[in-house]
């Protein structure tokens, strides 16, 4: 009971002396000074860090929830699923499985992503790249589907209840009609101006289906029709995409899966329905992890802001704390009190961040959908407007974790100020002399105004840390990825940030003496001050170091990536004009007759084709892209290793993308088997090429080899070379006329490059926003640290005013100190940013996305970033100084007496 009473007393003490004050004076409206602003900004910074991190998780959770809900709507009660590549597999497998004694029921399915021929412009730049012009069409066997309790068959769904008029009972079996989900009907109304007829592109022709009814409880755009009708309509007779399996009673799932796997032809797998969800989550993991890491760095910068505002608060309350100590408060109680304040800032920041995360998620979903701007999830949202809040996931684990992150930022940010408060000597504190030095960390506080003796100490401390940290950074960056996440590389980035902050005093010791030549008095005093008190630079510029390092590394990485993508596109598209049957559609394609028509167009000198399809190499691997096209001519191949020509008459050549080579761990001269037409076909790797289009790998084979092995003569893309004097505009018009307005996509290589880079920039938009945010937080750090410094040195500035310093000269002195401090931060930040960029490019990107890129430094951007931060910091320091010193020099000097 006594312990309980003690705890209550302690809590009451903390509440009265610390927390109440934090609420009323620092966060409330009673005191709208710099202290209030700093504390509020600290809360905001923590909230933003928590919100960004949590929002990434919420958006992803929602995407996965939607995906898995959609998947379950079709899988119904399936125990296992047989899945193949996007092109499907021979339906003979279905007959084998239907006779299997261990399977109670089987349900075949054909999935085709069909193009909706809308009146869209033909020219690529005029259309949005993600504009949904395709519709997923499922061909199902109604009678088989009934055995799987599929929601598709619910009331008002495909199976009409008994007693309906006879001509409607089997409407689902009719070849010329389809059932649409509500969102598919909405899409039809938007794209085709009505929802009574569904027009789909097959090859380059358009077919029409009647809309027979609406599918219940289906969230995404979807059309469902009879499987036989779908096979016929899309020219896929004898082909299935998936077979759902239900096991007979008493059959062991895993044993059955193992046995059935032996029956599967090449490129076809049998797996549990949930495997698809895991595969989809794995697709986005690298992108999510990278965004979450950015959010964590924002939170880290917020932690620095908590540190500087708490330091300011402790600095101002030094007399109060000295009095409390004189009255009998223990160091531990004082430490606990200041930590409790930091904890409260963390709690308020976390709670606000959690609310903000939901608002942010709503905003992100409204703008980019669930794909976070990266294009992983194409499905539009289920709900719109305020109703969207209802579908946002609760995610208690993610909320709990991010709450803890925010709390930790508050507590860790307050640790040093709390220790400084606990170290206050009552006698000195009451006199309030040397206020600044008392509060600074012990290792740096020892360094006084003179160089001699303690310059040795200044060097030793960071250098010994350098000797420890540098090898650790190298070792961590060399660690392999853990479950696809470059944990070692991220650890190396965190250590690099720490090293950069610790290098600040070293840089100050090296750089500041070199600036001795400047005669201006304010400059000389500012330089001497920083040289004598490098700890001020550490405290003030730590936030700048972190934010500049982050921004610089991202700038270098994004610039390198953009430069490499541009270069890759230039090599990939050497032709004059490119034609595509449809974006992301299985139903639209060119045939040989179309090709002949294109070749006959006046001005066309050569035509090269591409057939693109997705294969499944194993049950656990995501789909793998196969391209059948020439390696020279109107298509380019950005080779990293190997050669374009292949002389071995016995083996078939294959050029593997860099991502494919890394994922499959194959090199030049190795063999690779691909499932084509239900058989494993062996190829020899003749080259490794750079490919930024397909993260999970791609292989390129010669078109003649593909046709010989598969018999498939369909074509997705066509590249043209034109006569030297042919006018592109006229030729585009002729081609558009040939196929009909809006039927095919026609684009020049420059347009494709411009559009691709636009998509690239949009993908990194969220990254740019987070970078800017951390820089703003870093500048707040400068503002609050200078508020601490000016408050601590009020007497010094007051004395200078007595000696004849004008306000302007004092303002310039502080601006120089701010600018110099920021310059040191920018120097360390840029150095760390360069190292971090190398880690991002050579380790994180390779381990996360399996692709490499060339190192390209954005000199102008980095210079602008550095100068802007220095200029802003100088300006902020001066503004803060003007505000804080408005009271004049008298009180400052008098307060010290």
């Amino acid at each position: 009971m006594a312990g309980c009473g003690d705890a209550e007393t302690m809590i009451a003490l903390l509440r009265r002396l610390f927390l109440r004050r934090l609420f009323l004076r620092r966060l409330g409206s009673q005191y709208l000074g710099s202290q209030s602003l700093g504390s509020t900004l600290a809360v905001v910074a923590v909230a933003l860090g928590v919100a960004l991190g949590l929002a990434v998780q919420l958006v992803h959770q929602l995407a996965i929830d939607e995906f898995s809900r959609g998947m379950r709507q079709f899988a119904g009660a399936a125990d296992l699923q047989v899945v193949g590549g996007r092109e499907g597999f021979d339906e003979a497998l279905y007959l084998t499985l239907a006779r299997d004694a261990e399977l109670a029921s089987t349900s075949p399915l054909l999935r085709v992503v069909a193009r909706l021929p809308a009146s869209l412009p033909t020219s690529l730049p005029e259309r949005l790249p993600t504009e949904n012009e395709t519709l997923e069409v499922l061909g199902v066997d109604l009678f088989r589907l009934q055995q799987f309790d599929s929601p598709l068959l619910e009331r008002h769904g495909l199976a009409q209840p008994a007693g309906q008029a006879g001509d409607q009972r089997f409407a689902g079996l009719l070849a010329d009609r389809a059932y649409l989900s509500a969102s598919a009907r909405a899409m039809l109304r938007r794209l085709q101006g009505g929802d009574e007829r569904l027009r789909l592109q097959v090859g380059l022709d358009t077919v029409e289906l009647a809309v027979a009814g609406e599918l219940p409880r289906i969230d995404r755009p979807l059309a469902v029709m009879d499987i036989a009708a779908a096979q016929q309509l899309f020219g896929r007779i004898g082909v299935l995409s998936q077979i759902d399996l239900r096991l007979a009673d008493g059959v062991d799932l895993h044993r059955a899966q193992q046995r059935l796997a032996g029956l599967m032809p090449a490129g076809v797998s049998v797996r549990e329905p949930e495997a698809m969800i895991a595969e989809t989550a794995a697709l986005t993991r690298a992108y999510r992890v990278n965004l979450s890491m950015l959010a964590m760095i924002a939170l880290l910068t917020g932690g620095f802001l908590v540190f500087s505002t708490q330091l300011l608060s402790v600095s101002r309350r030094q007399r109060e704390f000295a009095l409390l100590r004189a009255l009998g408060m223990t160091r531990r109680e004082l430490l606990t009190g200041v930590l409790a304040e930091g904890g409260l800032i963390g709690v308020i920041g976390s709670l606000s961040g959690i609310v903000l995360a939901y608002v942010l998620t709503y905003a992100v979903l409204s703008v980019t959908g669930t794909d976070l701007g990266a294009g992983f999830f194409r499905a539009p949202l289920v709900s719109e407007g305020w109703a969207m809040f209802a579908v946002l996931p609760l995610a208690p684990w993610a909320i709990g974790l991010h709450f803890c992150f925010g709390l930790a930022a508050g507590l860790l940010g307050s640790w040093l100020p709390a220790r400084a408060a606990a170290r206050i000597v009552p006698a000195q504190g009451l006199k309030n002399t040397e206020v600044g030095l008392v509060l600074l960390p012990a290792w740096s506080a020892r360094s006084g105004p003179h160089s001699g003796q303690y310059s040795q100490r200044r060097w030793t401390h960071p250098l010994s840390l350098l000797a420890i940290l540098l090898p650790l950074i190298v070792l961590a960056s060399l660690l392999p990825a853990w479950q696809g996440v470059p944990v070692g590389a991220y650890l190396a980035i965190a250590l690099s940030l720490l090293l950069a902050v610790l290098c600040l005093p070293v840089l100050a010791s090296v750089l500041l003496p070199a600036l001795k030549g400047v005669k201006r008095l304010e400059w000389r005093l500012a330089r001497r001050r920083l040289l004598a008190a490098p700890q001020q630079a550490v405290i003030a510029a730590a936030g700048i170091v972190v934010s500049v390092a982050l921004a610089a590394s991202m700038m270098i990485m994004v610039n390198s990536f953009r430069h490499s993508v541009d270069d890759w596109l230039a090599q990939l598209l050497p032709g004059d004009l490119y034609l595509r049957a449809a974006n992301g559609s299985d139903s639209a394609f060119f045939d040989e007759a179309d090709l002949a028509r294109i070749a006959a167009v006046e001005g066309v000198t050569s035509v090269d084709t591409t057939r693109q399809l997705e294969l499944r190499l194993s049950a656990s691997e995501p789909r793998f892209t196969l391209l059948a096209r020439a390696v020279e001519g109107n298509w380019g191949l950005p080779l990293l290793a190997g050669q374009r020509s292949f002389a071995d008459g016995e083996s078939l050549p294959l050029w593997l993308s860099e991502a494919g080579a890394r994922r499959l761990q194959r090199g030049l001269g190795d063999e690779l088997s691909l499932p084509l037409a239900g058989r494993e076909q062996r190829f020899v790797i003749a080259g490794i090429w750079r490919d930024y289009g397909r993260q999970h790998g791609a292989a390129l084979i010669r078109p003649q080899d593909y046709v010989a092995l598969s018999g498939d003569r369909r074509i997705n893309d066509v590249a043209l070379r034109l006569e030297g004097d042919a006018k592109l505009g006229q030729l585009e018009a002729r081609l558009a006329q040939l196929f009909g307005e809006g039927e095919v996509l026609i684009a020049r290589p420059g347009e494709i490059r411009a559009r691709s880079l636009e998509i690239f920039d949009r993908t990194f938009l969220i990254t740019y926003l987070m970078e800017m945010l951390t820089i703003v937080i870093g500048l707040f750090g400068i503002a609050t640290t200078f508020a601490v410094m000016i408050h601590a040195r009020a007497a010094e500035f007051g004395m200078l005013r007595h000696l004849g310093f004008t306000r302007g000269e004092l303002g310039r002195l502080i601006a120089f100190e701010g600018g110099l401090t920021a310059a040191l931060g920018v120097g360390c930040g840029l150095g760390a940013g360069l190292g971090m960029a190398w880690i991002l490019i050579a380790r994180v990107n390779v381990q996360s996305f399996n692709w490499s890129m060339d190192f390209a430094l954005p000199w102008t951007g980095l210079a602008v970033l550095g100068l802007a931060v220095i200029g802003l910091a100088a300006m902020i320091a001066r503004v803060v100084a003007a505000r804080l010193m408005a009271g004049g020099a008298l009180q400052a000097v008098k307060a010290d007496c």
Binding site: P449, L531, M799, L803, G804, T806, L890
Partner: protein, 224 residues
Amino acid sequence: MLELHAVGKVLPNSPPMPPRVLFDELDFALAAGECVAIIGESGSGKSSLLNCIAGLDRIDQGRIVLAGERIDALDDDRLALIRRHQLGFVFQAFHILPHLNVLDNVALPLWLLRVDQAAAAVEARAMLAAVGLGSRAEDAPHNLSGGELQRVAIARALAHRPQLVLADEPTGNLDPLHAAEVLDLLLAQVRVRQAACVLVTHSQRAAARADRVLELVDGRLRRC
């Protein structure tokens, strides 16, 4: 050298309390090279008067004339220049910049006057020698005792040869032995440099060393 004519200053108070009259119709004159001590009870307005003379605080009525120039109506920057050229300060709490060494602290007023650094160092060294700290020029301030720091402050106050030195409780932080030494030094150096001096102090003993002693009572100066 310094003239105060009918100077008045009122301190605002929180309502309903009436404003407090700090000094009223205060007249005072100080000749070049003269040293006057101002004594008075705590809160009598001694330091405020010193601040008004230095142009760091504004008066509400009257005129202040320093070296023939009326300063009470000048703007802030002009007042700063007057302090830079004509005034020297000695504070109770020393106010030595911790990041400059002793020599640079003394040279600081000369730097403000844009004196060449080498010349400023020569002058500062001479001043330090005069206050008995010639051998401590390169030391850091934290290595000096309180008495030594105040001697540095005296050197700094006189380094640029001001016409008027304002000393606010210059011995307030020192023990009696050091206080006497420092006061002797201050007055001696002021006289050597032919500067005038206003010494604000609580100490009757210290005040007795001045040419004249005035007491600030009820807002008026009274000769003791």
